[in-house]
């Protein structure tokens, strides 16, 4: 019989009210009222969490070239070989890089065993292999290599986080994705060029002596010297420099770096730790009067002449703007990336487009809502009003669930809500059409309604499940804004089943019981 138990009616009512309550914080926010202070503490405070396409911001997908990072670290094995065998009297070829390892030969194969022992002693973590004819390979142990990968990736993420935090943006998201990717989302920041510059610069700084006698234009590669390009060859700067491979003092010994001024020109000041200061003093003290190249990521920023021995504190001069000194100081403070990164994907949305999209989405939703509701009332009369009311609760539930779960609402997500508004009444259409049929076949009012709801149920469930399958797969496979579409579509399908079946049923039953002996149905 047509009857809804009291506890069921209460539960249905409670769910509808909860939906509206959880939606309510969004309404206060729209009127520019500060949410947190005006709502009683026991009411929910969470508002919709907007995607980057609606609030504006930058999204970057970066790939960390971990292999290159490992190779970089492997270069240290060259030093290990040199220092371990220094003074041992073992004659050897100069070490060559071989992927992520270093290989050399002892000229007398009989020395190989002793050389390997010396190296192993110098670096316990290295894997030292003796091959034929005195060849020795120094590399990472297999188990260390895997650990190194994870370590490089997490270091990259940590450094990116430090750099972005320095930009002073709110709530950036930096997430690892897969084995070697990092997703970076910075809401409210739409200067992707600057962002990429800050994140993507490796920032490996070192100081190297310039070979003032060599002519860069006719440089022939020879061991111990490198030809490096100038960072940007503006007027008065040499396009290329010949620098000595060693000695160098590296930027990883820096403890601080700040933008500063000298003679009214923007410069970057830096401070070394104890070891750095000692080595820098040694380097500069021995070569007063010679040009010293300041090298960032294998490009020469500038090559000032050493005036006097310098210890802990120094400055980097160059053709900088104030903004550039700020960025460079930030990069040096945060430390160098242990591996270079590449950007695979980026998108930025300016704040005005985001605002426009929110406004357009709101307008479209409201109009879709009103139009569909009007159409339902036009087609089904009083029952159409029930369906339209159910639609209000449906919208409340969708927005309430989105707010409570803090699921990201994107522009396609708004499209999903609008689509749901159109499709939500489907269940009511099925039921009402069925009721009409039952009436036409001569059933009484009560049994027509009863039969309508009961018989339409299987169609409703079958048809919604198929849409749900598509929505769920879209959620699993999709990314970014499109995923937002599947989120609202999925939520919308589930809530619309509830409102279209149970909420309208409760309304219809209440209406039936309110009137005495209803003989005809306005449907």
């Amino acid at each position: 019989m047509l009857y809804v138990e009291k506890w069921k009616a209460l539960l249905i009512g409670l769910i509808c009210v909860l939906g509206l309550v959880y939606t309510s914080p969004n309404l206060w926010k729209d009127n520019g009222v500060d949410v947190s202070s005006n709502i009683p503490a026991w009411l929910p405070h969470k508002t919709l969490s907007l995607g980057l396409d609606l609030q504006g911001g930058a999204h970057l997908l970066a790939e960390v070239e971990i292999e290159a990072g490992i190779k970089q670290r492997a270069a240290a094995f060259e030093d290990t070989v040199r220092s371990a065998l220094r003074g041992s009297g073992i004659r050897r070829s100069s070490p060559e890089r071989l992927g992520t390892a270093v290989r050399f030969r002892t000229l007398d194969p009989a020395d190989a065993g002793r050389a390997a022992d010396l190296i192993q002693e110098a670096d316990r973590t290295a894997e030292v292999t003796v091959g034929e004819n005195g060849s020795i390979t120094v590399g990472f142990k297999a188990e260390d290599a895997a650990e190194l990968r994870t370590k490089i990736l997490s270091q990259v993420i940590e450094i990116i986080r430090i750099r972005i935090d320095e930009l002073g943006t709110k709530e950036p998201i930096i997430q690892r994705q897969g084995d070697n990717r990092v997703v970076i989302q910075v809401p409210g920041y739409d200067d992707s060029a600057k962002l990429k510059n800050i994140i993507g610069t490796t920032a490996q700084l070192n100081f190297r002596l310039v070979d003032a006698n060599a002519d860069p234009s006719s440089f022939i590669p020879r061991p111990g010297f490198d030809l490096l390009p100038a960072k940007d060859a503006r007027s008065g700067q040499l396009p290329k420099y010949v620098v000595k491979t060693s000695p160098t003092v590296a930027g990883d010994l820096l403890v601080d770096s700040q933008p500063s001024f000298q003679d009214n020109r923007p410069v970057v000041s830096f401070r070394f730790n104890g070891e750095g200061a000692r080595r820098f003093l040694d380097l500069t003290g021995k070569h007063i009067g010679q040009p010293l190249a300041i090298v960032l990521d294998n490009q020469v920023i500038s090559a000032p002449t050493i005036q006097s021995a310098i210890g802990a504190n120094g400055i980097i001069t160059g053709q900088f703007s104030v903004a550039e000194t700020q960025d460079l100081a930030l990069l040096l403070r945060s430390g160098a990336l242990p591996a270079p990164i590449q950007f695979l994907q980026e998108s930025t949305v300016g704040p005005s487009l985001g605002r426009d999209s929110v406004e357009a989405g709101k307008l479209a939703s409201v109009i879709a809502f009103v139009a569909v509701a009007a159409f339902m009332v036009f087609s089904y009369g009083l029952f159409g009003i029930f369906a339209a009311l159910a639609l209000v609760f449906n919208a409340g539930l969708i927005l309430g669930i989105l707010s409570a779960l803090q699921a990201t609402l994107t522009l396609p997500g708004i499209a999903g809500i609008v689509l749901t508004i159109g499709m939500a009444v489907d269940a009511n259409v099925l039921i009402f059409e069925r009721v009409r049929e039952e009436l036409a076949s001569g059933q009484s009012v009560v049994s027509a309604i009863d039969g309508g709801y009961r018989r339409a149920l299987s169609s409703i469930i079958d048809s919604q499940v198929t849409t749900l399958i598509a929505a769920v797969i879209l959620f699993a496979m999709g990314s970014g804004p499109i995923r937002g579409f599947s989120v609202t579509l999925t939520i919308g399908i589930v809530t619309s089943l509830f409102t279209a079946i149970w909420v309208t049923r409760l309304m219809v039953v209440t209406w039936l019981r309110a009137g005495t002996r209803r003989k005809t149905l306005p449907i």
Partner: protein, 315 residues
């Protein structure tokens, strides 16, 4: 208060739909062949999501001359660049094809163009998709479409007899192929959003079809003596007003979105509207007629409708 509901259909519609199925076969068959042929001949206008490349949406203070803009941008040597108005005359969308060379060159293209446009122009949105990601998205998209088709078929198979699953998937493939053909003919950009639209269309179309099939199953039990074509025709007519009504409400909502929802999702909305139209058509004219290929549907054991029973139990 009296509200007189408006009826779009006669109380008991009796259109000869299954009887005239040859027209539907002819129309759908040629549309599918045309769609396939055009997709292969013309090809799809793949968006940068799949092809890799960059996109810049800009807003000018006053409507710029597109040909001047084209000259400016062409001189930058970035290869094929498309420039189009986007929604209104002050908004311009610039698409830059994938740049040869390293990833560095790719990401510089956006900056090159924005620098050339000058300070006066507001950059509303930029997007860059590298070739690797493009390829991955393409594969993910194809897998998503396949998986949902399989999922939907599996569900229908589970709920109905296999003949229904075959007829349902035929209608579905029909809708998807013709929709892809539409993208080939119109040159609309085929991107990630289009894949989402295709999946939604698939879900929506089968939704309509399932309602018809549900009725076929019910009528198979009620009218045991009726010849299959007449029974199918009866089922389609029984559900006709529901099919059309639901499509109307959905299309009303989607039109609101297309008109007021902004330029960014307009193509997506058009694809959805088209999907509702073709899905409704196929549910009425294609899916049930397809059941005629399986004459044994008539004699098979009508499976017990579980939902009916559970619904009855809750009363």
């Amino acid at each position: 208060m009296t509200l007189i509901p408006f009826r779009f259909f006669p109380e008991r519609p009796n259109f000869q739909i299954v009887g005239r199925r040859r027209f539907a076969y002819l129309f759908s068959g040629s549309a599918m062949i045309a769609a396939l042929a055009l997709t292969f001949l013309i090809g799809l206008n793949l968006g940068i999501d799949f092809r890799g490349g960059s996109l810049i949406e800009t807003r000018f203070k006053s409507p710029p001359s597109i040909s001047d803009l084209r000259n400016t941008v062409d001189n930058l040597g970035l290869g094929e660049v498309t420039i189009q108005e986007f929604g209104n005359p002050t908004d311009i969308l610039i698409r830059i094809q994938r740049q040869p060379g390293a990833v560095e060159d790719q990401t510089k293209a956006i900056k090159t163009v924005t620098d050339a446009l000058g300070q006066e122009v507001e950059i509303r949105r930029t997007e860059f998709i590298g070739p690797t990601v493009g390829q991955e998205l393409k594969e993910a998209g194809a897998i998503a479409v396949l998986l949902s088709l399989i999922g939907i078929v599996a569900y229908i198979w589970f709920r109905f007899e296999w003949q229904f699953a075959v007829a349902g998937i035929a209608a579905l493939v029909h809708d998807v192929i013709i929709t892809i053909g539409l993208f080939a003919v119109t040159g609309w950009e085929f991107n990630l959003a289009t894949i989402a639209a295709l999946l939604t269309i698939a879900g929506y179309s089968i939704n309509d079809t399932v309602v018809v099939f549900d009725r076929v199953r019910e009528n198979l039990r009620r009218f045991k003596q009726e010849p299959l074509p007449a029974l199918l025709n009866r089922s389609v007519n029984d559900t006709l007003s529901r099919t059309v009504m639901t499509s109307l409400t959905t299309i009303i909502a989607l039109f609101a979105l297309a008109i007021f929802g902004g330029e960014v999702i307009r193509d997506f909305t058009y694809a959805l509207i088209w999907g509702v139209v073709i899905g409704t058509y196929s549910s009425i004219f294609v899916a049930s007629c397809f059941l005629l290929f399986f004459r044994d549907v008539r004699y098979m054991q009508p499976s017990v409708n579980k939902a009916d029973i559970s619904a009855a139990n809750t009363e």
